[in-house]
Amino acid sequence: MAITSAASRIVGCTLVGFTVGGGAVLFASAPHAAEVTYERLVNPEPQNWLMNHRDYNAQRYSPLDAINKSNVKNLKLAFAIAIGGSSGNEALEATPLVEDGFMYVSDHWGVVYKIDVRSGQRGEIVWKMDPGQEKLDRNRGVALWGNLVISVTSYDGRVIATDKETGKIVWDKNLRDQPDVELTAAPLALKDSIIIGASGGDRGVRDWIAALDAKTGDLLWRTYSVPAPGEPGSETWKDNNNAWQTGGGAFYVTGSYDPVTNITYWGSGNPVPGYDATYRPGDNLYTASLLAIDAATGKFKWHFQYTPNDNRDYDETGSNILIDSKVNGEERKLVSHAGRNGFNYTFDRLNGQFFKAVQHVTKVTWTKGIDSKTGKPVDYDPAKDLQIYAEPINVNTNKVTRDVCPNNAGGTNYWPASYSQRTRMVYIPELEGCSDITPDATRHVKGKFDGGTYVDPARDTSGIAMVDPATGELKKRINLAYPNFAGVLSTAGGIVVTALLDGTILALDDETLEELWRINVGSGFNAPPMTYAVNGKQYVAIASGLFRNARGKLARSPEMKNVSQATMIFVFGL
């Protein structure tokens, strides 16, 4: 940052910030909006996007169809909004929420913005709430509950409720129970509670899910993904290192929720140290698992572990899509998860019964496949404390390098898939690439708990895989030239929208995956696209600006070497 721009910022602070004071600076008065009730969260209005994944089913499917297959080619930039930008190298990963013409979004300093987007001509920032977060990190968005906007503050470990009208902080709770714990997932607002997922696992954190009283922020329950000695699952930690205390199992993507059963579905991250399984022999429950959690108590109703004793950083914290669908002529309640380990899984969400798994990436080398009965990798050996799968026999040997596909960022990751109610297909934003991973037993100390190192030896790319969750069939796939860290939106207009690290946003036909529209904005995307309507007009919005790990996946794309990043929200309309 140039000193002149820093100086002018200080002047701005002195003139406005210090004289007004308080939690926020009001830029314009706004009419009072309706409260976001539980009933609205269960049945969101078509024009609104009231929670991170749009609905409790995490489908990221919008019933809006004004922008559709036949006219999406005419989509153009309506306006853009610059947010963040108070220091160099910032990024945005949040899904903007929109309620009745007002957008709510967070930047990587944990700053929350309320933006008036009613005019369709420009986005006017109504207020911003700056929590004074100490370290720049990541932030995947906010939740709406009642008259509150709920947000998190990464390494600060705070959860904050801000008054939707005034931008003033209503409550501010500190959940930081370990030095390296991190809060980056958008909170999930339920009837009376707010569900928060903790991450930072790779630094040696024992991660957890917690529920807070939505009115007061008081802690209702907190459940750790890694059990303490004596608790169920602790028998799967067979080390003498107290590895459970630093065992990971992070939650950095918002879960889904079934209001009928009061069960919330969250995926947990990898066991830590990620690249060295010898530190933690055993299956390492409940890491790399799908967890069906009783929202009232925090108890696990059922779980399914995808990759026991993982040593490739295959978190399975990505979204869990709830789908009601006919399977073999019978109406079933499903949960579908696109795995970082390269496979898409479907389960009965009531009892956890495994249905189907199908490979969604082009190249998988770590296993020969998934057992069609158990859902476990075919080379999983429950009698072994250290799994080898289909990797070389010395896969767990210190300092021995192995090439593994998908790469350590996975076949997909925090960027969410979408389920179209129109086509009954899941669209998976999958990442293509491999990593050379080297376990390093010296990396087992606080703050440096990855247990090894990696490099991606070649260019990373991506694709969109279309999977039928009811049959487990891969119906179609297209390849895209740059990695996808953004995710997918599907709509009743028959389009699938996604975006890439090179700054391209594109719309596809939801049946053929044929490309219908694209634009390159020059700044990469690692935040999901969303859609909303106001005054009868539909828009597509997406935040730009790449975080460092995303930029790292362009290291082997030399033509991208001079590209800079801008933290903008781009809004498109017809």
């Binding site: 000193i3 910022r9 701005g12 004071g21 929590p131 100490e134 696992g201 490099v455 460092r548």
Partner: protein, 170 residues
């Protein structure tokens, strides 16, 4: 560009800025003449992504890992400059001089063809000019190399006086 910030964050950022921007009006007692290098280290070059904010090798978990503990580094100045400019072939340490190999400025004239697929990647932050590399080395030599365990004072130099996360350090 005029930006409007809250009072509280302004206060923190003002303190941090005054602590880091040399020649900016009334400086605090601990004037930092390596501020340019510090700013490059934290922001433009993004060194902490792999090496950690204190240079101890505890970078972001999503980074490649295995970054050197700079606090324990024992390299002469010329070698520090060469490693930053040229990276380490076959390792994750990037080259901050984009054309260093194309123009044979590294390790006795090694070319891009010589290193082949072991060519060090470009940084996740920005490449640096020779003057900037020298400034980063100035900062490393003054503030990072040879320092013992991380102290609260050092943490507050980076994140501002009274930072909550600095209470983790003595």
């Amino acid at each position: 560009m005029l930006r409007l910030l809250t009072a509280r964050s302004c206060a923190t950022r003002l303190v941090a800025l005054l602590a880091t921007v040399a020649g900016f009006g009334a400086l605090p007692a601990h004037a930092d003449d390596t501020s340019f290098g510090r700013r490059l280290f934290y922001n433009k070059a993004q060194c902490p992504y792999c090496h950690g904010w204190a240079g101890d090798g505890a970078g972001e978990p999503q980074s490649s890992g295995g970054a050197a503990n700079l606090r324990e580094l024992k390299l002469p100045r010329e070698q520090l400059i060469e490693v930053i400019s040229c990276g380490v072939p076959g390792k994750a340490m990037p080259r901050f001089d984009d054309t260093a190999y194309a123009e044979k400025r590294c390790y006795g004239g090694v070319s891009e063809d010589d290193v082949g697929k072991d060519l060090p990647p470009l940084p996740v932050g920005s490449v640096l000019t020779p003057r900037e590399v020298a400034a980063v080395v100035d900062f490393l030599e003054a503030k990072i190399i040879g320092r013992g365990p991380i102290t609260r004072t050092e943490c507050e130099e980076a994140f501002g006086a009274g930072a909550r996360s600095c209470k983790d350090y003595p």
